[in-house]
């Protein structure tokens, strides 16, 4: 083998790139082996993006109002379909999850209860489930 060009060798190691690899978006959601904090992060991210999409849909649906009573009331009737009600519960779950965890993130980020972030997640999680149960009851009772 011919003598190796030492300049090309010197680039291999140690530390030459200075740049981290780019974008492994799937790692946002690789929470299986991770701590509870990551579950909170994933929840916030998924629910947040979901709620942005929902917000858009919600605004578009409201435009039915400008077309008079028939179209909108037809939508209201459709929305009483059990599948729609189930979606409502999912929506409420997203709101509660994002809202309560968002509160936790805001508190921690203000330096409040930082040491208790883990416990806070559990307490808020329980609170969220209770709230969701009440909301689901209300949705289906109506």
């Amino acid at each position: 083998m011919p003598p190796v060009d030492s300049t090309s060798e010197s680039k291999a190691y140690p530390g030459q790139s200075g740049r981290l690899p780019r974008r492994q978006v799937w790692r946002w959601f690789a929470f299986a082996k991770r701590s509870l904090g990551t579950w909170g992060f994933v929840l916030n991210r998924v629910a947040g993006l979901g709620l942005v999409v929902y917000l858009m849909l919600h605004l578009v649906v409201l435009s039915l109002l400008t077309r008079g009573p028939d179209g909108y009331n037809a939508f209201v009737a459709l929305a009483h379909n059990p599948i729609f009600l189930l979606l409502d519960v999912v929506l409420i779950a997203g709101i509660i999850g994002h809202g309560l965890n968002g509160l936790r993130v805001a508190l921690i980020g203000s330096g409040i209860l930082v040491r208790w972030q883990h416990q806070m997640l559990i307490v808020l999680g329980v609170l969220g489930v209770v709230l969701l149960a009440i909301a689901a009851f209300l949705v289906f009772r109506i």
């Binding site: 530390g15 780019r22 409040i112």
Partner: protein, 244 residues
């Protein structure tokens, strides 16, 4: 007593496709994961490369991902991560460029530490009856890179300053007269600095040396927010006030 365990080690050499090699090794469960890898290197495959030096959690070079979680294998005992006949899946740190097998390019990490320029030696906590600042010691951060590997934001934002350097910045700022250079401020308080953190606390979960980077990022955030509000209200900075 010896256990026979299986190690599935991620292999990669430049220009070749990545693969996983399976090794069986017989080892005392009281010894460390790093010992098992060194034993495989010594007895089975000398082409295996991995970083290691001090074998007592001081140099920070051997960090890797075992069964999906960052560990410092030099202080992780076999018996604590598996059982007789168990399997360990060994990968290089995530979020770093892989150079070969388990060796990653630490350049990006040290570049970030260089920006902040944290002194590696600081005051030692006084023992009973000792004065503060009487003695010094190495900082808790051993610069192993595990926090960057575990961070979900580092996974997608290659410009993020990351947990270790942000924790270092907080350390400097809270050390009395410490301050950061303009370049460091830009990195710490800019778009890709401490405001990029999304509070997954994964850095603190994996840190082998009690640095608690996430806690320090949050403390820094609080400090900056208070400063900013004071600034907006025209109260001037709290530091100036203290000096008067």
């Amino acid at each position: 007593m010896m256990w026979t365990i299986t190690l599935k080690i991620a292999r990669y050499k430049p220009g070749e496709p990545a693969r996983t090699d399976t090794f069986q090794v017989s080892i005392d469960p009281e010894r460390t994961v790093l010992d098992s890898i060194e034993k495989i290197w010594a007895e089975q495959d000398r082409s295996l490369v991995f970083r290691h030096a001090c074998h007592h959690a001081s140099c920070g070079s051997c960090a890797m991902v075992v069964n999906g979680v960052e560990i410092l294998p030099c202080i992780k005992l076999i018996k604590d991560v598996t059982k007789p006949g168990g399997t360990l899946i060994i990968e290089p740190l995530h979020n770093f460029p892989v150079i070969s097998d388990l060796v990653v390019d630490m350049g990006p990490f040290f570049e970030r530490m260089q920006i902040v320029k944290m002194p590696i030696v600081g005051p030692a906590d006084p023992l009973p009856n000792q004065e503060p600042n009487e003695y010094n010691r190495f900082d808790d951060c051993i610069e192993c890179g595990m926090c960057l590997s575990a961070c979900p934001v580092v996974a997608t934002d290659s410009k993020y300053l990351g947990p270790a350097a942000l924790a270092a910045a907080y350390q400097i700022l809270s050390s009395g007269d410490g301050n950061l250079s303009a370049q460091a401020w830009e990195a710490v308080d800019g778009e890709h600095g401490l405001w990029r953190c999304h509070v997954a606390f994964e850095c603190s979960a994996v840190c082998p040396s009690n640095v608690d980077p996430a806690g320090k990022i949050m403390a820094l955030r609080r400090r900056m927010t208070v400063e900013r509000i004071r600034h907006l209200l025209g109260l001037g900075s709290s530091k100036k006030k203290r000096e008067k």
